[in-house]
Symmetry: C2
Subunit: 236 residues, 2 copies
């Protein structure tokens, strides 16, 4: 998983890929949250199978999953000897549908295809590298603002996600009450922690069109107000 | 398959259901083409699992598949001992997502959900039984018009689909050339035959919003012109 949203960690795919390939395995990457928000160098990092989603940093409605496969992955699909159990993700059939044979596999969700095309055009207008830069800058601005009131990012420095900020809940603050006030008073929804992080962290998304300086400033001001309203002591 | 589109046959589900249940089996029905165009009496016919599509007689964009399960089917899912191979259609997980537990399974294609809601509202405005009647009437009008120029429906009388008319290609007519002229001159696309029917039948859809008297008349006039243009003898 490239951008791990439960911990806010950006995984070092290049290093992982090296280990994977040294052992003759194929490298499968979930780039659902990273694509469009940070570099996903599929070929450079020798990713064999990679999938993403339309609804995160591409800012398209949900419903499609862009996928790509390396030659090694394609070969593995071709050489497969056991029957594919799923019609839905029978890639040998989907290949023939997408390929020159045009063998019917499914009715495409055509409105979603046009939505994704438009979303990708918007990405291209901004420029892919400008988009990565924007996500990074807004993340850094949020990080600075939080650090001023003593709130830290939980993931390791150098591996912090630009589009999903996992932060420590400050001492004395109620997880649910603060999230509720943020939602009711400001229409801002942030995520709670999962598993071992439940009640200990918040997760703040700054993805695609939502990653703006304005949103960062609004969130910082709103969070401060909620914390003060609920009696949590933070620096002036 | 309730509405079998390669042959234009409406299957007698009530009779099939009886045989299936006499043998203690579960009854799975594909209602992709029939739902919204003719009666699909899921409970009355004791269908245990039924699925459809949004894009046929419901006239919604493609991308969703309405499904329903009987108590027996639900029980079979619950008692299943082998691991489900597909995340996508792991109904035990999807049940928990749709149920009161709200256990996360997938990001819903929310725009499609609203599209289906709107399509169903339109169905309700017309009235479900009025809609079946409209599909039937337009099918009968097409059948009459074709019979006047000696063209017959291939499926058995009493089992002919109202929304998909499979008709015999008249002697002397070129399958491809007639279809091409219909498309180029009138923007009308009809389907060719599949398998044993390839080159022998045409398939004319009259589904959902497209099932109108106007479309029937336009198609009949256009087909006559194409046949005459290409030297096929038909009654005046």
């Amino acid at each position: 998983m490239h951008a791990e949203t439960s911990t806010g960690a950006l995984q070092p795919l290049e290093e992982i890929s090296q280990i994977v390939h040294e052992h003759g395995a194929l490298f499968l990457v979930d780039a659902v949250t990273s694509l469009g928000g940070t570099n996903v160098d599929v070929d450079g990092w020798q990713i064999d199978a990679c999938y993403s989603g339309s609804q995160k940093c591409l800012s398209c409605p949900p419903g499609l999953s862009p996928v790509t496969f390396s030659e090694s992955a394609t070969e593995a699909i071709e050489k497969r000897k056991t029957k594919v159990r799923s019609w839905y993700l029978d890639l040998s059939m989907i290949r023939q549908y997408w390929g020159s044979e045009r063998l019917y596999h499914h009715t495409a969700p055509i409105n979603m295809n046009y939505a994704l095309l438009e979303a990708l055009k918007i990405v291209k207008e901004e420029g892919l590298e400008n988009r990565w830069k924007r996500h990074l800058e807004n993340h850094l601005q949020l990080k600075d603002g939080l650090s001023e009131i003593g709130i830290e990012i939980v993931s390791q420095t150098g591996h912090q996600l630009p589009m999903l900020n996992a932060i420590k809940i400050p001492e004395g603050a109620s997880d649910l009450n603060i999230r509720q006030q943020l939602l009711q008073e400001f229409g801002i929804e942030i995520g709670g922690g999962l598993g071992a992080f439940k009640g200990k962290i918040w997760r703040i998304g700054l993805m695609g069109a939502a990653s703006t300086k304005g949103n960062v400033l609004l969130f910082l001001a709103a969070l401060k107000k909620c914390l003060r309203d609920q009696g949590v002591k933070i620096p002036a």
